[in-house]
Amino acid sequence: MNSSLRARLFTRTLVMLAITLAVVFSGTQLIARNSLQKAQDNALQAVAQVIADSVTRENGQLTFDLPFEAFEVLAYQSQEALAYQVSDGERILAGAEDLPLILPRVPGQLTHAYTQVFNSEAMRFFYLNKPIRGTQSIAIVIGQTQTGLVREVNGLALQAAAFCLVAFLLVSGLLYGVLNLALRPLRSIEKALAKRADDDFSKLDTQVPKEISTLLAELNRVMGTHEKLLEQSRRFIAEATHQLRTPIAALAARADLIARNAPSEFAEDATELAGQARETSRLSHQLLTQATLSYRTPEKKPCDPRELIQQTLRRFDFIAEQRDIEIHFQHTGEGTFLLDPLGVREALACLLENALQVTPTLGDVWISSRCELGCLTIKILDQGPGFSDMPNQGLGLSIVKQVADNHDGAVTFNHGPQGGAECELLLRG
């Protein structure tokens, strides 16, 4: 079902072509056979006619000649066995007595050709009746085997088959070329779409035949619609990011401030309110980050992985300091790497945020990165409880996976060698 349009068109047309050629071949064979059969009938008739013409009446007796030369002419044409019979309707006057005599179906018909087995071989017979006087007549039957005819027909059939095969190959080649030509507009559409960016919904301006112009117009219309929807989504996300992120962050900061300064009777509620505000801020940040990453095309550019990671780590200096957690970073390898910096930063942020969250106060978080064989491997090891008690990473993990996919990479989680969890993010530049 998934075979190509060209293959389907080609094979079906080939089948039709093969059928046509088979019909032509069979027809040629039939025509050759009929033609050669007719020639043999004519030759047999000629000899029968010579015998008939030699009939005379001498002293009341019918006499005739069996002309050696005429029979020799038959022999020169092909090496065939021969049988003949001359009779006057009552007696056999000459020739074989046991010939299979088949009279014409039409009464009064004077000549008639038929094929019949004689002496274990198919023979072609010609019957000729020569009226003499009144009801008297002489019937002459002369027959030949058809070895030469069969050989000739087979030879012609082989020639026809050879020509048919050549024609078949030529037409197949031409057909293949024609199909390629006919499908070229479709292929040009395919190529134009293939080399586009994922978010490129601009109109295709390929010149196409009128048979697929409607298809192209419909394709352009659908792409136009999607372009508008994408643009709307992007605007919405940008607007939401702009409108929500800052007030929610401000709300969380205000809640923290209130919690710190709240009278003792409200301290517990205020602290809980501040925690919920921080969680809301975190979730809304991740949600908007994921939406941004989803509705944009990753923009990869040469980056220094060490610097990129260090930039991200700096965002967490304050939190680490607050909780007396030391972040250790080690990088191996030199040079730049083709990365989507925004995506990688957000993915690292998610992983670091999680590591810091599960690592107890005065603990350590180790980050190591390595550039090797076109791959950037970033490992983050925490001192948390491991996977069993890890909080639901939710949107964070989803963001990390998306970034890994965008870089043909993968994310894996393992138990740390001395407890904790180790996350490995593999990215290909």
Partner: protein, 330 residues
Amino acid sequence: MRAIVAGLTLLFSSIALAWIEEERVLGQGTTLTVYATYDVPAVLPLLEAFSNANPDLKLIYRVASSQDLYDRVLRGELPDADLVFSSAVALQVDSVNRGLAQRFSVPAPQAPWRAQLYTLSVEPIVSIYNRKKAPWIGQITDRNQMTAQLQSGLRILPDGAMTYDPSVSGVGYQLLTQDAEQSGSFWTFYGELEKQKLELACCTSDMINAVASGRRDLATNLLQSYVLPLLDQYEDLAIKIWTDYQLVLPRTAWIPKTAPNSAGAQEFVSFFIGEGQVLLPQNNRLERPTNLAAPQKPIRLTPSQTLYLDRVKRDQFLHRWNQLSTGEVQ
């Protein structure tokens, strides 16, 4: 009792094979039975060579008259026949034409008929004359010239001529009918010979003796093979080959469909037309020398040959032949 049974068996076999003129058995092993008309002495070196080359074959070579052979083949009385080898072209062609032969393929210098009837050797046909009594015949080149001489009205062949009696001799009938078909001057020639005096003979030896002894001046349509060995014996005997054309009689062979040892028969045919040819007299070989005195006209292996086996055709020919003596034929 055992002696009586053995005696009776021998007696019945002798009666059953009474029509066989000569038999030669060579070697031991799988039997290969060849029925032939070719005399044993003429082919013995070839038979021995074949037997030596095929030590696992027991070759039974039986010689019979061509008509006897033909009649028995048609009646299905020779179930042991692996090969039928005869010079009677018409009878051979007729047997094959009736669908009795099997097809086989061996490389042959002369194309077989329907891959069934193979020419194994040839017999050139010659005339002979008595060089003492009719030395002028040596100066005559072709038969038209001879006919013109005969038409002079003089009695140039005082003791007359001889040829086969076509009503008695099978080979004579074959040669005369073929001669009649090949030559437009046939009837004139024999009409003139008849005027000089034409004696009809049953056998080749009668003609050779008559000419060699000087009882007759000329004899026509003889197998050269029979004449050549006698040239040294009779110094007055001379061969005449008319330069207009020379009839050549093929000795042909076919393998019956019922042959018990058709592979052996094919081997025999292959040997005969291959390495065996050098063991035949020069004039019987299929490879003809290029410096022949006359264009050769081999009797063709075609079903037309069977026409003269037809009673109507035979009666017509013999009727016309007999009219020679009355001078009605021109």
